[in-house]
Amino acid sequence: MLRQLWYRLISPIDPPLMALAGALLFVALLVLASASPERLPSQLINITAALVIMRLVAQSPPQRLMHIALPLYLFGVLLLIAVALFGDISKGARRWLNLGFMRIQPSELMKIAMPLMLAWYFQKREPLIRFRDYGIAALLLLVPVALIAKQPDLGTAILVLAAGFYVIFFAGLPWKVMIGLAIAAAAAAPLAWSKMHDYQRARIMTLFDPESDPLGKGFHIIQSTIAIGSGGIFGKGWGQGTQAQLEFIPERHTDFIFAVMSEEFGLIGNLVLLVIYAMLIARGLMIAGNAPTLFTRLLAGAITLIFFTYAFVNMGMVSGILPVVGVPLPFISYGGTALVTLFFGIGILMSVHKNRMLVQK
């Protein structure tokens, strides 16, 4: 009886994905115990909540996800508009919507709603996807991205843009269009530069020359780079990172937690983390490759690549090869919102995988 219940509980869960996500959660708790042990209890609560959501999503069939795609998207865009009109300002950006009893950050919702929506759209157009469908998809993508970028929240805007782009890419956007877009983007870079906020420009500038402003904007990058470099091959040992323990690393439990891990576990630790991420992504792409419908394929592929984008952008910025944008290290950075979003994605992958044998209609 109990065994049966347990079996029912874990039946929608994909063991390889769960094992990899579990490994990442283990790393997360290990590093957090060193960087900010007082936050362990609340992070355990966050993890529990995220796992519950993952389990719920995992048991929902893809059809149900298709049903909520459009409403979720519209709801998200409405909320973004509401934020732009009535949002709370915090740290110079208008990102939060105060509902009276809680504050929510609607841009986070778009990370899931966006690929759902676009996958749903292409599914609807199948089997005859025309060129203008890519245009419509691009429009569906750019409206919320623009709203988020306007808040301004460059990190989230990039993630949402990436999520939507991955769907369009997997839906077969022709290479010549992509090359054309790349050229156009390069040409538009100066214009984008002029439209950017000062702090965004400063972050890009400090990437190229962090020492130019060692106490100001370059401080984050300099200190995290020192932490990583001084970790060496084997690291300084758990709890022994001087950069981390003496608080030289800023945001060391959230966006810069990778620097803490890197300082204490060294190159070996970094390699282990990269391998786990690579395996997680490989598993995700495998699930996408075996997915039964266009919707599930596009969704699984895009979500998997979002995991990659999180990881790459975060590690790139902390190690000083990408500008500082507010992107957490997936599954590892402290914080409930990102964790829920990520495990929502894991849940979707599991659902797609469980239902791989179902044939449409």
């Binding site: 089997p127 060129f131 997997f170 200190q223 020192i226 003496l246 890197s262 190159l267 690579a278 190690s319």
Partner: protein, 627 residues
């Protein structure tokens, strides 16, 4: 682009998955390459930077060396006291903070002014004292309210203290907060590391000259600090080494006797032990309280000192250059003997004036001294004798001879700010003036040089060195203030000198003639009144230096404005046959040397040779004949 065939669409999708996988691998490889670069190739660089972040060297300032007199009496010491300090960079509104503090602790306007001055001069991140010497009660009060004042703290600091206040202030000097000039000196000595953490530096006097002896070696505490600069724990500690102690040749009690003897008169006195060159007393009056400067002097006191017409901040003993007046005559007489221009018994008839060209040089005494030989010329201070002698010797012989006694040259005494003075000669005039007609030396100018007037200008310490050298039969020592330096760690004492600088080649019989005449001065001459009843035999020479030349009218002591009155001088040594002390006294605008300066010398000798404490300031004796 259309997917007509589902199978074809799946193939296409899978190929795109492959592209994505390739892209992911490429990006991860890029990251890995970055990590290898940082953690293997740049490892030692970043390791060093992490250590620099973590470790902070906190200097431990050494105790400054003590200054004691020849008998071990402490003249400069350190004491520990609590100060209330503000770190301006950690305080939001300075004014508000100080106002708040003033409600608990007594902070006066002058404290605020001083703090403002320190603030302007301060480096970043320094903590600056707003109040010094807190009482225990004040400390307790502040601690109770500390939480209200972030960036304000109580610190235990060592303070320099001069226990005798203004006694010997010019000689001792003082310490004050390091300024840019001090920083240059520190850099010149490559002492920058050793002065990390040091706030004070010797200014003036012994404190300045022996700064690097007194300072000591700074210790260091290796602290682990966090990003906020807060110390987490101590990693290592190197103890500081206290500065060396200085033992002076000065006799603090004698110094006190002299300063009392001056009363409120301006002037200087330098007393030297002839057999070593050790300075027994170095006085410049008025003096000041060096303790005022230690915490940073407040503006009002500073202005009072600076604006005073008495110029208390000038060390007259080494910086003031005065005509020697008649105290020059014994050396002139000695020159005459050495050059063979006069014999002791050879006399002149003094009509009361000496005519040279169409100018008449008058003697002090109306109608003249009558028949005057060398002895009488010194004892009675006859001007005419020396007008004629100067003319016979010529300026260059005078200059050459006087240079041997150190006139017009810095003595090399171990305190800063010594003036050179002027030993006039043809060559000096060429150097001194620009226009050709001014550069020429006129024979008439030599005449007044003979009585210590004209271009002659010497510092009191030069006069003292010369008379000490004469007392010592021509063997010259460099006047100095520090007898020995004690290394506080090993206890070894390094003696300073006494090595004779030189022995002036003089005939002893000639010296004896001069000394005999100087004894006569105090026995039956111009110094006789001041030395009446002395229990020892002393030798001296009075002098009066004109501040302002009064042509054609008689000089009347009482009838001239004080600033225009003559300077009174006296040189002396005692006991005459075995000199233990030689000195030069100058009383600015004191009038006659016999009246104003000689009595001070009497008190000094009485104290030094007999241990007699004077009853009050040296009174003016009534003027005898001449100066």
């Amino acid at each position: 682009m259309e997917f007509a065939n589902p199978q074809e669409g799946l193939e296409k999708f899978r190929s795109r998955l492959g592209v994505a996988a390739g892209f992911v691998l490429f990006c991860f490889f890029l990251l890995f390459a970055r990590f290898v670069w940082l953690q293997i190739f740049q490892y030692s660089y970043y390791k060093t930077r992490a250590e620099e972040n973590r470790i902070s060297l906190v200097p431990i300032v050494p105790n400054r060396g003590l200054i004691v007199d020849r008998n071990g009496v402490v003249m400069a010491r350190n004491y520990s006291a609590y100060t209330l300090e503000i770190t301006p960079s950690k305080v939001g509104d300075l004014e508000e903070t100080i106002d708040g503090l003033a409600k608990i602790i007594d902070i006066q306007a002058k404290d605020r002014k001083r703090f403002k001055r320190l603030l302007e001069e301060s480096k970043n991140f320094e903590s600056l004292p707003i109040r010094n010497r807190l009482t225990d009660e004040e400390v307790a009060k502040f601690i109770a309210h500390r939480y209200r004042f972030p960036g304000v703290d109580i610190k235990a600091r060592l303070f320099r203290q001069y226990p005798f206040g203004d006694l010997a202030s010019h000689m001792l000097g003082y310490i004050g907060r390091i300024d840019t000039r001090d920083e240059d000196k520190i850099s010149d000595q490559e002492q920058d590391d050793n002065y990390r953490g040091t706030d004070h530096f010797g200014k003036r006097g012994i404190e300045q000259h022996y700064e690097f002896q007194l300072h000591g070696i700074t210790g260091f505490e290796q602290m682990e600090v966090d990003a906020g600069g807060r110390a987490v724990r101590t990693l290592a500690r190197t103890a500081p080494v206290a500065g060396n102690n200085l033992t002076l040749t000065i006799d603090a009690k004698l110094q006190g006797v002299v300063e009392k003897a001056f009363g409120d008169r301006r002037g200087a006195l330098v007393a030297i032990e002839p057999s070593t060159g050790g300075i027994l007393a170095l006085v410049s009056m008025p003096n000041f309280d060096p303790n005022l400067f230690v915490d940073g002097i407040d503006t009002q006191s500073w202005q009072e000192l600076n604006d005073s017409p008495d110029k208390p901040m000038i060390n007259r003993a080494v910086y003031g250059a005065y005509p020697p007046g008649s105290t020059f005559k014994p050396y002139m007489a000695l020159a005459a003997l050495e050059y063979g221009k006069r014999k002791p018994e050879q006399g002149i008839n003094d009509p009361g004036f000496f005519n040279f060209g169409n100018h008449q040089f008058r003697d002090d005494k109306k109608g003249g001294h009558g028949y005057v030989d060398m002895y009488a010329s010194i004892v009675a201070s006859c001007d005419t004798y020396y007008y004629m002698l100067a003319n016979d010797l010529g300026i260059d012989n005078i200059a050459k001879f006087m240079a041997q006694f150190g006139f017009g040259q810095r003595t090399g005494v171990d305190i800063p700010g010594e003036a050179e003075g002027v030993l006039p000669s043809e060559e000096w005039k060429k150097r001194r003036f620009k226009k050709p007609e001014q550069q020429k030396w006129y024979a008439g100018e030599t005449i007044s040089i003979g009585i210590g007037q004209g271009y002659n200008a010497y510092t009191p310490i030069q006069l003292a060195q010369a008379v000490a050298t004469l007392a010592n039969n021509g063997v010259m020592y460099r006047p100095h203030l520090v007898k020995y330096i004690t290394d506080t760690r090993s206890g070894t004492q390094t003696m300073i000198e006494p090595q004779p600088v030189k022995a002036i080649p003089l005939k002893q019989e000639n010296i004896d003639v001069i000394k005999h005449a100087m004894v006569g001065v105090n026995k039956e001459g111009t110094g006789a009144r001041a030395f009446a009843g002395a229990e020892y035999v002393s030798a001296g020479k009075t002098g009066t230096a004109q501040v302002f030349s009064l042509k054609g009218s008689n000089y009347k002591e009482g009838g001239t404005k004080k600033e225009l009155r003559d300077h009174a001088l006296f040189i002396a040594f005692a006991p005459a046959d075995n000199p233990k002390i030689a000195l030069a006294v100058l009383v600015e605008n004191g009038g006659f040397g016999a009246a104003a300066a000689a009595p001070i010398a009497r008190q000094v000798f009485d104290y030094y040779l007999l241990g007699k404490m004077p009853k009050g300031p040296a009174g003016e004796t009534e003027a005898g004949d001449g100066d």
